[in-house]
């Protein structure tokens, strides 16, 4: 599951160590914005060393530097041999970025005896052009597992203020969800940047979930538990899903074509959604009592 994805500065030994125990589903080890230009080399080597020696037991995503910098290739050359699960390219504005990257990663996979195609891509969409081309990007490579929305840079590109309520990125959020689902991949929401505003985080995460995002990135470890909770199937939803599945079973056994539950007709999409919810709940080991 990719409910929560925590950004970890790639040049911080203590944060790279702590990442292993924090309750994030995925970690995004950041070689880009979290690292000053004169420390790119240090971060690259530190992150690679951490990957080699730590057993993170979670999905590891590396945010590499942009393709218009001189850093992205050394980033990949140093990191791919350490077998990260995924690479996060930034400012993805079209599929050519993805193609160039995929090619370079394939080359490095071959050189390092890694199953070709196994390292995934999670493109960060944070420009207007990226939003426009979101579907093209999402479907440009079988490596792509999800689209991540980068709200701060996007607002800048849209030349408007980034706010907690998020009206400025409302459309972009829906667009990302649609593009991702149309391409058969996940959609991950942008981080909530006020570390101290718990209520704000909850509202923002709930909004993202209701828009169809399957997870949310975070810049603060303090946000993780709430994000996990909000992006997990809710207890009532799990209970209801069980009831739906049971009702479908009963109807099948009784030879009835129409399934009803609590006076409501259960058609195919509802039944399918119930299966999805139970499958997610199963993966999280959630019991009915939670």
């Amino acid at each position: 599951m990719r409910r929560s994805l925590l950004f970890i500065p790639g040049n911080s030994p203590v944060m790279l160590q702590n990442g292993a125990v924090l309750p994030a589903d995925s970690l995004i080890l950041d070689l880009e914005d979290a690292v000053a230009a004169d420390q790119k080399d240090a971060a690259r080597l530190l992150t690679a060393a951490a990957l080699r020696s730590q057993n993170y037991k979670k999905e590891i995503i590396i945010r590499i530097n942009s393709l218009d910098s001189s850093y992205w290739q050394p980033d990949l050359e140093e990191i791919i041999p350490c077998r990260p699960d995924a690479i996060m390219p930034t400012k993805c504005s079209d599929s050519s970025t993805i193609r160039i990257l995929a090619e370079k990663i394939s080359e490095l996979e071959r050189q390092n005896d890694i199953e070709e195609g196994s390292i995934k891509l999670l493109p960060l969409i944070e420009t207007a052009l990226g939003i426009e081309k979101a579907f093209e990007i999402a479907s440009s490579s079988p490596r792509i597992a999800a689209l991540l929305l980068g709200g701060e840079d996007l607002a800048a590109d849209l030349q408007c203020d980034r706010t907690k309520r998020g009206e400025e990125i409302f459309y972009s959020r829906s667009r990302i969800v649609i593009a991702a689902r149309a391409a058969g991949v996940e959609a991950i929401d942008t981080p909530f940047t006020d570390v101290d505003d718990d209520e704000g985080l909850i509202q923002d995460a709930r909004l993202a979930r209701s828009l169809g995002f399957s997870g949310k990135a975070a810049i603060s470890p303090r946000h993780l538990t709430k994000i996990n909770e909000i992006f997990s199937p809710q207890p009532e939803a799990v209970r209801y899903a069980r009831e739906v599945v049971a009702a479908v079973e009963r109807a099948k056994k009784a030879g009835k074509g129409v399934v009803s539950l609590h006076g409501k007709m259960i058609d195919a999409p509802i039944a399918a959604r119930a299966e999805q919810v139970l499958e997610q709940a199963g993966r999280l080991g959630l019991s009915l009592e939670d």
Binding site: Q17, N18, V21, L22, P23, Q54, S220, P221, R222, T225
Partner: protein, 475 residues
């Protein structure tokens, strides 16, 4: 004025009959803002006295002048429940010939009662006093709140001197220590620095690991079954301890649990929990911040208690005996769950039990919260440098890599295993730490001179601390 008021500390010393080799006592409620101990000892030195033993409930960094007094022979003995690192490292390097006697907050009044400790002259820093020596800590510019640790001094010392910077007209109605026990009153301009006495506010840690462990501890308390109406609780004042109280508060408010009391060192956070209905009563042996001081002044449910009432094993009963859960720290924990809070991993003195062994002995659930390593030094060791609190009084150790339950608590182990907490063995925690940090080489065998004795609350010597110099950092 008149009454028992004397002109100076020196006069008080003379009138009280100060001689060489006497024991003088001090309480630590003015914490790192205390002026009184230094003022008194400076006067003692001026009088040319030698060989004095200091019995202070705690020694802080502000008491650094003690080091010179020890070196020049004014002071030759030290007894305390806590010794901060700054003075501690000098003690570790062997400046005192006689071993320091470490007691616990409960053991100190107990030993005074048993007669195995004796105070000739007690100096009681008194934020407010009247001319006859009625004393309160709740009022005045140097207000510190509860004077819990001073009661035994007032009761058992041969002579008692109140040192105040706030003399009020007789009688001080809301007194804590009665004039019946006080011999002299000395007025000073300032008895302490308010900034060092109490924090403006104590803050919950922002460290994600501290917050993670706090949540784990609260979950564990819930899973233990103790968290129901009537629940009682104690925690420290460090950022991580406060985080644990906060995590507990969230659960208590959500499930409408009305606890009976919170005890020990009281912070604004506990005051707020009381106001929100989490605890009926606050039993306060010391105040850590302004919010607590304000509360003890005005709220009859916020009670000042003496250290003896709090934790003495000689009392008919003490608060710790009624405690459900306590959260404590540790510098080291060993495979037998023995806990060290006296020395750091280099063997240097930087703390003391305080109420650690008392609460661990009394509470139904004693929980240690500590990160599995601190800057590469693993928490879990084969054998602690110093046994501050014996392992049979410790029920669990909470680290970010999992919770270890004392095998003696099979009942607790079963309950916790049913929760979603990551329960591991203490050996597994040690292995995890060593896998991450590498296996530390053991320090040289300790065969140096004994510089401190650790007295358990029953008066027995539970461990000794040996001479150690500050490690060289070059090679």
């Amino acid at each position: 004025m008149q009454g028992k008021v004397v002109n100076s500390i020196t006069d008080a010393l003379r009138l009280a009959g100060i001689r060489d080799s006497m024991t003088l006592s001090f309480h630590h409620h003015l914490r790192n803002g205390d002026y009184v101990l230094n003022l008194v000892m400076s006067a003692v030195r001026e009088l040319g006295l030698k060989d004095i033993t200091i019995n202070a409930s705690a020694i802080f960094d502000c008491h650094l002048p003690l080091v010179e007094l020890i070196k020049d022979g004014t002071v030759s003995g030290l007894e305390c429940n806590y010794l901060g690192a700054l003075v501690g490292k000098s003690i570790s390097s062997g400046i005192l010939k006689k071993p320091v006697i470490f007691r616990t907050h409960g053991g100190r009044p107990a030993d005074l009662e048993r007669g195995s400790a004796h105070i000739d002259i007690a100096f009681i820093a008194a934020p407010t006093a009247d001319s006859q020596g009625n004393i309160s800590g709740k009022y005045g510019p140097s207000a510190c709140g509860s004077l819990g640790y001073a009661f035994a001094d007032a009761r058992y010392a041969d002579k008692v001197v109140a040192v105040t910077d706030n003399l009020v007209p007789y009688p001080l109605a809301d007194f804590s220590i009665a004039e019946t026990e006080v011999d002299y009153v000395v007025i000073q301009d300032r008895i302490g620095d308010p900034g060092g006495i109490v924090s403006g506010t104590t803050r919950i840690t922002r460290d994600p690991i501290g917050l993670l462990m706090a949540d784990m501890a609260a979950e564990a308390i819930k899973a233990s079954g103790l968290l129901r109406d009537g629940f009682s609780f104690q925690t420290g004042a460090g950022g991580a301890s406060l985080a644990a109280a906060f995590a507990l508060e969230k659960i208590m408010l959500k499930e409408c649990i009305q606890g009976s009391f919170a005890s020990g060192g009281i912070t604004s956070q506990l005051v707020n929990m009381h106001k929100r209905g989490c605890f009926e009563t606050l039993l306060d042996v010391q105040c850590f911040d302004l919010g607590a001081v304000e509360s003890i002044r005005v709220n009859p449910q916020h009670k000042e208690i003496s250290a003896g009432h709090y934790a003495s094993p000689e009392a008919a009963s003490a608060v710790v005996d009624s405690l459900d859960a306590v959260i404590l720290g540790a510098t080291e924990v060993d495979l037998s769950f023995n806990v060290n809070v006296h020395t750091n991993s280099q063997g240097l003195i930087m703390g003391g039990s305080g109420g650690h062994s008392d609460t661990a002995a009394g509470a139904k659930l004693a929980i240690i919260i500590a990160p599995l390593m601190r800057a590469r030094m693993p928490l879990i060791v084969d054998r602690v440098h110093t046994v501050s609190t014996p392992g049979d009084t410790i029920d669990m150790v909470v680290t970010q890599y999992g919770i270890a339950v004392n095998p003696r608590r099979a009942d607790l182990f079963d309950l916790l295993r049913q929760s979603r907490l990551n329960i591991v063995t203490i050996e597994e925690l040690k292995e995890t730490a060593e896998k991450i940090c590498g296996k530390p080489k053991a320090l040289n065998d300790e065969d140096g001179r004994i510089v401190a004795e650790v007295h358990y609350r029953d008066g027995s010597i539970i461990d000794t601390i040996r001479h150690r110099n500050h490690p060289h950092t070059d090679n």
